[in-house]
Symmetry: C2
Subunit: 338 residues, 2 copies
């Protein structure tokens, strides 16, 4: 029931996702009558959908505390509960991000060794694709959080992006003497000296994100959120200037006409719907947040992101790596108490 | 003597700046013989240049502490000393940023009411131009620093960008419940409730930078540095994808040919040389940092930025506004002690 055009957009998105996903069934939570009517409009969709009625809806205006306390009969909460109960392998929502994160954390709990989950997404770069985290779940992060994000991101790049030895970079600033805050400096020290099976590149700067210098960009939620949105804003700015340039003369208009197919391909590469689906990583369950303002195509991408995480057994893989992190923590604690 | 291609690039930059600036003379610090030889290669430049010999050079590898202690005979330090002595109205350097900031702060001191200077720059947006600060001088900022940056940035937008009532935004993240760290929340409270003559817009997000939502973007040095470099990296990424698209077929190549003049104009709008010259604002003197890797055109822009700040009497204007900030501080302190 969450999202600007929900539930219509959600059901249409499921119909599109169904084309791409084999052997995936959907449990859909919300107003039973409305949902069943919508599902019936898409040929064949009913065969892979089960609807469970939920009387309440979490809105974007709901406070996190209110959602946690009195949202137990909401579509969002019931969908998360279904993951906890093992009825669903993962949950996708286009609703209130803060409420979704808080509820998912409360119900599913974090994986052993992870204090806080992170929001992650895959972004296009000059060399392919890079996963970036955290994007806003944790405003303040200590070095331990950043190291945990590095582990989570590395496993993601290996298991889901299928990279053999993904490189991990810590986002920092360039001025030598002023290099970074205490958290990034300490996280860098830990990652350099640890026995974690991570190919740690070291510090990177903002322009390394688009350059694709590393496969995993690790940062705190404040910086990550600002950086991602700044990148989106810059892409919009350039598109705006490009449009102006293409319309600036008859000659350029003629040129733009010839370029139409190429420009369409160019635009597709940046289509935000292609990158829709922010993953909440570090939870004891798969949880993906779709942009609330997306359309059916965008929502179908978010569903595919969740399906991919499930298919790759992401959470099982990550648990193995977290065990070495926990062992390391124990060793550090022992060394400290010597 | 600072910069990748210094001093050749610096002298060539002065020759270009001279074309644009009337009634400006240059005091040039460095190796006297080399500088005089270079100046002689540009017709008429000698008439507006005085060379002062400095035996030492601060390199990019020099630590800030070393530069401060033993760099007294360096071209950078002697140029800053000339501002302090009143021999120069401002200083421009393409050398070590950290050393320049530390020396300028040590020699020139900050303006009354300003605890820390900020690095600021003007960036292109969909609505024109926006000034953004801090871009890396201060990794950790408290609310007081952010409020001071807001005052500095507002005066800059009014006096130098010539905006009647510039709007000021605080860079933050979007998630409602998790909105921001303590510094931005407290700075927002102060700016909303103060009697400062500032048109405070409130919080903005990363994509508001390129959209030009506000005329002044205020943030801490860590976030600001990452955001600016992320924007640069995104622009490079899009240029890369655009080039690929233009070369993808014979048809698109033909179209690109027709578009050549328009694309050149498009490229010029993002030419980093046009935006070269980061201003150290809040100091008792004008100090501008040129990118070390720039060329003569870029350096000439940095010189023009400094000349503009001087011509507009930026530091006199800002002092007047700082007086109200100091008065407010006093009032707040009095209220707190009641």
């Amino acid at each position: 029931m969450g999202g600007d055009d929900a539930p219509e957009m959600v059901i249409a998105g499921l119909a599109m996702a169904r084309e791409k996903l084999r052997n995936v069934d959907f449990l859909v939570f919300g107003d039973e009558t409305r949902l069943n009517n919508l599902i019936a409009q898409h040929a064949g969709l009913a065969a892979v959908c089960s609807v469970r009625h939920s009387p309440d809806v979490i809105t974007n205006d709901d406070k996190v505390a209110t959602a946690l306390r009195s949202g137990k009969q909401s579509s969002m909460r019931m969908a998360i509960d279904a993951v906890k109960a093992g009825d669903a392998a993962g949950v996708v929502s286009a609703g209130n991000t803060g409420a979704l994160m808080a509820m998912a954390k409360f119900v599913l709990r974090t994986l052993p060794g992870i204090e806080r989950p992170a929001i992650a997404t895959v972004i296009p770069t000059q060399r392919g694709e890079t996963v970036m985290l955290d994007l806003g779940a944790n405003v303040d992060c200590d070095s331990g959080n950043l190291v945990q994000f590095a582990v989570i991101g590395e496993v993601f790049a290996r298991q889901v992006l299928k990279l053999k030895q993904p490189s991990v970079g810590l986002l920092n600033i360039g001025e030598e003497e002023l290099k970074g805050n205490d958290s990034v400096k300490e996280a860098s020290r830990i990652l350099h000296n640890s026995n974690l099976p991570i190919s740690f590149y070291g510090f990177i700067e903002g322009d390394d994100i688009g350059a694709g210098t590393v496969d995993v960009v690790v940062t705190d939620g404040f910086t990550g959120n600002v950086a991602l949105k700044t990148a989106e804003g810059t892409a919009q700015l350039l598109a705006h200037f490009l449009k102006e340039a293409l319309n600036s003369s008859l000659l350029s208009k003629a040129g733009a006409l010839l370029l139409l197919p190429a420009l369409r391909k160019f635009k597709e590469r940046f289509d935000p719907r292609r990158y829709n689906g922010a993953m909440f990583l570090g939870l004891n369950g798969i949880c993906v947040k779709s942009h609330g303002g997306t359309d059916a195509l965008g929502f179908s991408h978010a569903v595919c992101v969740a399906a991919d995480l499930i298919k790759q057994g992401f959470n099982d893989r990550i648990k193995e790596d977290l065990e070495s992190l926990i062992a390391m923590d124990g060793a550090e604690a022992a060394a400290a108490s010597d």
